[in-house]
């Protein structure tokens, strides 16, 4: 039980409950089930892509190109849908995932084979992918009336009052919970981030892991691209601009170490949910949306400082306890 209190995720969870409580004192309607479902809907895409980002950060990398990848895969399938409305929705989803997988693989190859640092690789591909979106659409939009009903209705299709968007994100979360915690490759991802040299000595294929995390993140991003474009019923060259920073923020708030080696999916989920609450709550308590960015920045700084201070204290406690035992 004591160990539960020391966990970052638990602290964040309590903090979130505290904030929900605070907001609901001011606006009781915040606690309505429909509003909470709304927040889940808003954060579903963010939390999916943040899982991809988590895997990359855990290996010690970073992916700045996710926003552009979302836009590029989203724009591709939106155009496909506009000019070939006969293509069934499941093909569209598959194509979107494939495009994302391809974009992620390019990142992965550049990082693992050409040995370009992840931050440089994705800085480059971020502009390249964003530019390609512009080339594809020639600066114009694909608007709601140019999409088929099945296309833009897909994320809103609901079952038992919950949208398919939420089901998909839950599915992704469960899949990756299993992958990261219960499979050998999943644990190897943590191994690489924890200690690169040691991981090579125990026989982990460092290149393969590095490639894999980027490819997987790309796949998720591809799926997110379709969902994004369908949900907002618009594809344009500015789609998901700045989204990469939100996914990194969700990770950092969720206690993922930016140096690599540690971080959990649960933490990232809470981080994403937290960002969703802040955005949603601000509008509910009539604070101008212009405050969103400042508050997000403040929370990121606050969260990393708290996390670092707590970590150091825990390490000191651990050292002290060990010296007592000896």
């Amino acid at each position: 039980m004591m160990s539960l209190f020391k966990k970052r995720e638990f602290n964040l969870f309590v903090f979130i409950l505290f904030i929900i409580f605070g907001i609901s004192l001011r606006t009781p309607s915040f606690l309505k089930l429909s509003n909470l479902v709304d927040i889940l809907n808003d954060t579903a895409i963010l939390s999916m892509v943040a899982i991809g980002q988590l895997m990359i950060i855990v290996t010690g990398g970073i992916d700045l190109s996710v926003g552009s990848s979302v836009a590029l895969s989203g724009m591709s399938v939106a155009l496909l849908n506009q000019y070939h409305p006969e293509i069934p929705i499941f093909m569209i989803i598959l194509i979107s995932i494939t495009i994302g997988l391809l974009l992620g693989s390019i990142n992965g190859l550049l990082v693992s084979r050409a040995k370009i640092p992840p931050i440089i690789t994705t800085l480059g591909t971020m502009s390249i992918y964003r530019g390609l979106v512009f080339v594809l659409c020639k600066g114009s939009w694909v608007s709601a009336h140019e999409m088929t009903e099945a296309f833009r209705g897909f994320p809103r299709r609901s079952f038992l009052g919950i949208s398919s968007l939420i089901y998909i994100s839950i599915l992704i979360v469960i899949l990756f919970l299993i992958f990261l915690n219960l499979t050998r490759t999943g644990r190897e991802i943590y191994g690489v981030g924890g200690n690169k040299i040691a991981s090579q000595y125990v026989g982990i294929n460092f290149k393969k892991i590095n490639y894999l995390v980027f490819a997987l993140c790309g796949g998720i991003t591809g799926l997110a691209g379709f969902l994004w474009v369908a949900r907002y019923a618009a594809a344009q060259s500015e789609t998901a601009i700045g989204f990469e920073l939100q996914t990194i923020a969700a990770c950092v708030i969720g206690g993922v170490s930016i140096m690599g080696g540690s971080g959990t999916i649960i933490g990232v989920m809470l981080g994403a949910f937290f960002i969703g609450i802040v955005y949603n709550a601000l509008t509910m308590i009539n604070v101008s949306p212009f405050w969103q960015m400042a508050i997000q920045g403040f929370i990121i700084l606050f969260a990393i400082i708290i996390n670092t201070v707590m970590d150091k204290r825990n390490q000191q406690l651990m050292l002290r306890r060990r010296s007592f035992n000896e």
Binding site: M126, I128, I300
Partner: protein, 339 residues
């Protein structure tokens, strides 16, 4: 990272041949630079025009001025992605002061001070708590621009004193040389001397190569990093003065996306993102490569987003090129040292 530097030292001991000199990064950059001028002047007759070339420097001198301290930041093994937001923050503060009737000198002071304060805040959190710079500046990037949005919302400051326009719009005397360009070269010389000719510069390289070893050698690592981040803020404030003066208005989205372009410039200039390696001369060439490349593409009506594709490709290819050349190099006995 540290192992690579051992290898580098051994290479220095080895006799340098003319091939090694040819493979130097700055030479490759100069070659790219000349290629860009040749291609551009073939594509458009308006490219090689003295007035045009001078005037186009207005478009990238503000970024260039931030790229200089960014060299130090990246050599130290850190990164600062909050510089563009610092520009926005300083610009908003100057706009507020200007509306309150502050004179030009006062506006400059406010711009420089608010920039330095923002940089100091970054450096303080990074060194005090030992948090990676990317995480801290990610947060402050949101925070600084967020404050700009809170203050301005969807409005804009447009009232600036006429004399304030000098910094970003005027030329030196009767020549066609912009004030910004001269300012940049003066700063480049100062930064170059500090980095390459002073003990401070050597300490910066030492920190980037191995910060633990540097600390044990008596180098005040955190103090130096704090100074570097503050100077980066100061230069962002300076860039903010120039930019605000040039466009004569402040919106909260001013200079958005610049941080990535500045980092691209620095890395293309041969500064290793892992720290410990780089020089000012390479970055100066890279500033003009990107600046003139964009100018040339603009002349033949290439849209901005397409320019970004080419700059992204240039960045990735530029980093891959030395590795490809390394593979072509004849193997010698020292190549085994790497493993």
């Amino acid at each position: 990272m540290n192992k690579q530097n051992d290898v580098l030292d051994i290479k220095k001991i080895r006799k340098t041949s003319w091939l090694d000199i040819l493979w130097q990064w700055e030479i490759i950059l100069l070659f790219i630079f000349i290629m860009i001028i040749i291609i551009n002047s073939n594509l458009s007759p308006y490219f090689l025009d003295y007035t045009n070339l001078m005037n186009t420097t207005f478009n990238f001198m503000e970024k260039a001025i931030i790229a200089l301290p960014m060299i130090f930041v990246i050599i130290c093994g850190d990164i600062d992605i909050s510089v563009a937001s610092t520009i926005a923050l300083s610009s908003v503060f100057m706009g507020m002061a200007s509306h309150a009737g502050v004179s030009t000198a006062g506006l400059v002071a406010i711009g420089l001070f608010s920039g330095s304060a923002a940089g100091f805040l970054n450096g303080f959190i990074i060194t005090k708590f030992g948090i990676p710079a990317i995480a801290v500046t990610l947060g402050s990037m949101s925070l600084f621009r967020g404050i700009a949005y809170v203050i301005l919302g969807d409005k804009a400051f447009t009232k600036y004193p006429p004399s304030f326009a000098y910094f970003g719009q005027e030329y030196i005397g009767n020549t066609m040389i912009p004030f910004e360009l001269i300012l940049f070269f003066i700063l480049a010389i100062i930064f170059g001397i500090i980095l390459h000719k002073t003990t401070m510069g050597r300490k910066v390289f030492a920190i980037g190569n191995n910060s633990t070893a540097a600390r044990f050698s008596g180098i005040p690592v955190n103090k130096i990093r704090l100074i570097i981040f503050t100077v980066t803020g100061l230069c962002s404030g300076l860039a903010s003065i120039l930019l605000t003066s040039r466009i004569g208005s402040t919106r909260p989205n001013i200079a958005s996306g610049w941080e990535l372009e500045i980092i691209t410039t620095v890395v293309l200039g041969g500064v290793a993102i892992t720290g410990g390696k780089g020089n000012v001369f390479g970055v100066i060439i890279s500033i003009f490569i990107i600046g003139f490349l964009k100018f040339g593409m603009g002349l033949i009506n290439v849209p901005g987003k397409v320019m970004n594709i080419i700059i992204g490709l240039l960045l990735i290819l530029a980093i891959m090129l030395p590795q490809l050349l390394e593979r072509l190099k004849p193997k010698n006995s020292f190549s085994n040292v790497k493993k």
